[in-house]
Structure formats: C-alpha cells, structure tokens
C-alpha cells in the first residue's frame, strides 16, 4: 500500500512539472524517477526551479527554502522531490 502511494505521488509530481513548465511533447512516462531534472537531465533551468517551487507550495502547502543546499537536494529528481513532499506536506 505504501509503495502504491509513493508511485501515485510520483506520477502526480511529473504531471505537475509538465503542466507548470509547459513541457510540450513530454509525458510522465518520459521522466525517470531517478534522473536529474536540471541541466543534464530533463534540461530545466533556474527559472524553472523557482516556478516549480511556487507550484509545489501551492499544491502541497510545502515550502522550499530558496538557494539552500537542502533545496538543491530536494530538487534533484522526481524521487527526491516526492520524498520531500511526502515528509513535509500538511
């Protein structure tokens, strides 16, 4: 059951990323859980990071501090984002 919930969240977060950042031609299946979201991986940039931070705050009432080393870790991949959201959502 726990496994299933994490999986659901992962798809939800992928959809959020695609919708928030207007990623044309990309589906949730194209984003790997462990792959880097920024630069080398999906190719997102710093403006995307800000945009995604706002969207996550709106959707899950989770606040992410800008520019902290922790936030870089949380934003690394869909997996790290999901873990952060699951652990902090209210």
């Amino acid at each position: 059951m726990k496994e299933l919930q994490v999986n659901d969240l992962s798809i939800e977060v992928k959809k959020l990323i695609i919708d928030t950042l207007d990623l044309e031609d990309i589906t949730p299946a194209d984003i790997e859980d462990d792959a880097a979201l920024f630069v080398d991986g999906l190719g997102l940039d710093s403006i995307d990071a800000l945009e995604l931070g706002v969207a996550i705050k709106k959707t899950y009432q989770v606040k992410i501090d800008n520019n902290s080393d922790d936030s870089k870790k949380h934003f690394y991949s869909v997996k790290t984002l999901c873990e952060f959201i699951a652990g902090n959502r209210s």
Binding site: L21, D22, L23, E24, I47, L50, E51, V54, K58
Partner: protein
C-alpha cells in the same frame, strides 16, 4: 527622413504572406478576429515553451525579416499595450494574494520580447522597447530611423506587436484593434548602398503636432494604415503620400521610385 525597406513581414488577422497583404491592400481580403499563431519550429521546444502568443507573433516576424543579419542587427521593439494578458494575470494574482509565477513575472516587462530575441539569436546590438499610445507604430519607426541616421547603421529592425487586450480593459479601447505583428528591416537611402539597376523605392517619414488636438483617436491602427500603404504600391502610383492623423500628431509617409 529617407529610408528603404529591405524586408516587411506581417502576421495578423489570418493574413500571413505577402500575397495575403497585397490582397488586403487591394480590398480583396479582410482581417479575421481569430488567427493561428506562428509555429516557430526553428526555436527549440525548451525555449519555445515560454513564448506567449504575443511573443510568438513578434519573434516570427522579427526572425523572418532580419534573417540576413540576426546576430548583428540593432532593433526597436514597439507595442502600445505590450503583453498585457500576462501582466493582467499577474495583477489578478496579486489581488487574490496568490504567489506570482516567477516566469511570467520575468517575461512581463515591456522589453521581454526583445530580450528573448537577443537570447535566441545571440544578438548583443542595442535594443529599445517603446510604447507611445496610438502612435506606437510610427514612434517606433521614428526611433528606428533616428538611430539608423545618428549611428550610421547599415540597417535596423523595427518590430511592432499588438494583441487584443483582456476583456476587462476592452471598454477603454477606442481603436478597432487586431492581434498583429509587423517587422521591418530598414536601411538608409544612401545612393551608394543601392545598386544602380535596382529600382528601390525610397520612403520618407515626417511628422508634426496636430494643432486641432482631436478628442478622438484615429479609429484605425497605424500599422494597418502602413501595411495598406506599403502593399498598395504598383506601377500606376509610384509617387504617393499618405497622411495619418492621431490625437496628437500628423504623420506623413511618402514613397518615390528611385
């Protein structure tokens, strides 16, 4: 001020090609309220995703008109309302105490489209953004010609863009507006630059204050008046002047065969 028009590219009201605009100038085609946006397939998807309809109209015309000098041409971006759809969404979010979209915030300034043009082309030449009410098109042209002359540029790009304003602002609109972009690649009318056998058309722009200070704006957009004039050229009326009045100014645009 004399100049030549090396390229003219316009997109709006479902008219997108030179043939469309020729037909428009001859009264054979009208403007539709709705229109398809340019695809801009040459811009990579990761950059294209941030382009609003306003930005797509502007960039399509800018990139097509300045194709021969994308990396070096100085430019003037003019628009009366700017990307108001974007700005008003931000204002609504402020009113609703919602967090603002950082992307929309960054791209809502009046020179954002010029910035996108510069980033995409790697062009670091001087660039200005202008807004001047109903005179925005001609003031943009005037600014471009002044820069062309003062700096001895070989050419300069003028990009004029307008989108229909959001519904809440519609009651304040006096002109008959349409979503449109028009880019002109302008060059000085120096004889040395025009090949002898080239029958280049020389344009001249002048303006004066409108002493009558009309209360009403001209019902027609200046860019459409310009396009009618530009595409209305033919063998029978080589030398001709058009006078366009606005609340504050009288603009005179003349063309003569070389």
């Amino acid at each position: 001020m004399d100049f030549i028009i090396k390229q003219c590219v316009a997109w709006g009201g479902e008219l997108t090609t030179h043939q469309d605009w020729l037909a428009y100038a001859q009264g054979h085609k009208g403007l539709n309220a709705l229109h398809e946006l340019p695809q801009l397939k040459q811009i990579p998807a990761m950059q294209r995703r941030r382009l609003s309809p306003f930005a797509k109209l502007a960039l399509h015309c800018a990139l097509t008109a300045a194709d021969e000098c994308l990396e070096t041409v100085p430019s003037v971006f003019s628009s009366r309302h700017g990307d108001l759809a974007k700005t008003s969404k931000l204002i609504e979010d402020v009113a609703a105490k919602e967090p603002l979209s950082p992307t929309n915030f960054g791209l809502s300034v009046h020179n954002a489209v010029g910035g996108l043009f510069s980033i995409y082309t790697g062009n670091k030449a001087p660039l200005t953004a202008i807004s001047a009410g109903e005179d925005s098109f001609f003031v943009g042209l005037l600014d471009a010609l002044a820069k062309l002359t003062a700096n001895d540029y070989q050419q300069i790009l003028l990009v004029y863009t307008e989108q229909l304003v959001p519904e809440m602002y519609q009651p304040y609109i006096e002109q008959d507006e349409v979503g449109i972009a028009c880019a002109l690649l302008l060059a000085p009318a120096r004889q040395a630059l025009i090949p002898v056998d080239d029958k280049a058309t020389i344009f001249s722009l002048s303006m004066q204050a409108n002493p009558a200070q009309q209360m009403q704006e001209n019902p027609n957009m200046q860019v459409l008046e310009f396009l009618k004039f530009y595409y209305g050229m033919n063998e029978l009326n080589k030398n001709i002047t058009t006078n366009i009045h606005s609340k504050r100014h009288r603009w005179h645009l003349t063309r003569s065969a070389n």
